[in-house]
């Protein structure tokens, strides 16, 4: 297979890589660019562990071809904290113990951040529906929802 040469931006930094035409964005992020925050839970769009944003849209990176992100702006969990300073969502996840094994956590944080950028004051129902594509086998979800609600309140300055 002839490799494709892709130029893109990841968390604000320009990035370039060579990939097979059928490589997924997730596989390139993890295996080539060493951005292993996004996880492969299912590879079929069901679990959300691979969530990233492409041009501001939340997507499952296992269902995006790396070839498609030429010229795009990508954000991943690695871009969430500013140096040592955690994002309010990250802090609230720790405070509320909203994770156990942590495999779902990067995807949920990326998804929750995308929600709060669109809707800073979501209802609990809105949070639950928005995160319906992020599966967690450990926590039972309540702590995750509480952490997101609390982070939203803090970010609104409430």
């Amino acid at each position: 297979m002839k490799k494709l040469h892709i130029n893109t931006s990841i968390n604000g930094n320009s990035a370039e890589f060579l990939c097979d035409p059928d490589a997924t964005l997730l596989s390139v992020l993890r295996d080539q660019l060493n951005l292993t925050g996004a996880k492969e839970g299912c590879g079929s769009g069901d679990c959300g562990a691979c969530s990233v944003t492409v041009n501001g849209r939340l997507v499952a990176s296992c269902l995006v071809l790396a070839a498609e992100v030429e010229g795009a702006e990508i954000t991943t969990i690695e871009g969430m904290a500013e140096g040592e300073v955690l994002h309010p969502l990250q802090k609230k996840f720790l405070e509320h113990a909203a994770l156990q094994c942590g495999v779902c956590t990067p995807g949920i944080l990326v998804a929750a951040k995308a929600l709060l950028e669109k809707n800073p004051d979501p209802s609990e129902t809105e949070v639950r529906f928005w995160l319906a594509g992020n599966l967690c086998r450990c926590t039972g979800y309540d702590k995750i929802i509480n952490a997101v609600m609390d982070a939203a309140a803090e970010m609104r300055g409430a």
Binding site: P21, D22, V64, L65, E68, L131
Partner: protein
């Protein structure tokens, strides 16, 4: 496999037509990439249509809207005017998958994947939406209901692809609704579904209706008897009973672990009646 991202429709049709092997259009990839990974699908060429000009636009046209083939569910959901005119279509599109899937999934992909359970298709059929198709011999228009021919099969010829879907203008006191049954509240495939689009006169009498059913036959059904049950009525109980009976009679469902034949027939009638009531009240709000 090769990947191509042409910038013109002509180039896309040429690539699709000239490919000696299996060529597939890539829109949101939410069906295609799953099939490539788990379904044994191994295309020789993917033609990504998202870089073609106009493909991501929703454009007003003759009082209706033309929706580009690469417009995602999330973009549809944000289009207020489209939602005001065809709320049933937009709610059907929004039922597809999760937020992550919505960021990519398209209506044209939902249609061309040709699953009998595709959520946006009954709503589009009830809306009498028209697909615009580009191909080696130029453009043609085709009603949405004539695109899927069997599970996984469409009437598109080699080299052809959908460039946009047109939703016509409608009178003020007209609206639509779509409902599906799934055992969960999110992230599941329709066990059965119903789309109803109707027009009322100033007295609230239904003057026009289209009723479509999903997941109860090999392809989406457009049920004329069900529409006839509504036309001329004010959606009183007897009209709704007749609507439900016509829908149950039209169903030709499979029996599987997700729903028996009897269950699908019964629930389809319930969904059609509820969708008709929702469409009626929405039409009232617009008049």
């Amino acid at each position: 496999m090769q990947y191509a991202a042409p910038e013109t429709t002509a180039e896309a049709t040429r690539l699709l037509a000239d490919s000696p092997g299996t060529a597939r259009v890539l829109a949101g990839g939410t069906d295609l990439l799953v099939q490539m990974k788990f379904g044994g699908l191994a295309p020789d060429l993917l033609v990504d249509i998202k870089n073609i000009k106009g493909m991501r636009d929703v454009t007003p046209e003759d009082g209706g809207f033309r929706v580009g083939a690469a417009v995602s569910g999330a973009e549809m959901g944000e289009h207020k005017a489209m939602r005001a005119l065809w709320p049933g279509v937009v709610e059907a599109v929004e039922l597809i998958g999760s937020t992550q899937v919505q960021g990519r999934a398209t209506m044209a992909g939902n249609l061309c994947n040709a699953s009998p359970a595709a959520d946006s298709v009954p709503a589009m059929v009830a809306a009498n939406a028209i697909a615009r198709i580009a191909g080696p011999d130029g453009e043609r228009d085709c009603p949405v209901q004539d695109i899927p021919t069997a599970p996984g099969k469409t009437s598109l010829q080699k080299g052809e692809f959908i460039t946009s879907i047109f939703f016509p203008a409608r009178p003020d006191n007209a609206s639509d609704a779509y409902l599906r049954f799934i055992p969960r509240t999110e992230m599941d495939i329709a066990v059965c579904s119903a789309g109803v689009s109707l027009t009322l006169d100033t007295n609230g009498t239904c003057t026009d209706a289209r009723v479509s059913l999903g997941a109860v036959a090999a392809t989406v059904l457009l049920v004329q008897d069900a529409a006839n049950a509504l036309i001329g009525s004010k959606l009183d109980d007897s009209a709704l009973e007749a609507l439900g009976a016509a829908c149950s009679a039209a169903c030709n469902p499979i029996d599987d672990k997700r729903g028996t034949i009897e269950f699908r027939r019964d629930v389809t009638a319930v969904l059609a009646k509820r969708a008709a009531k929702i469409a009626q009240s929405r039409a009232g709000e617009r008049s």
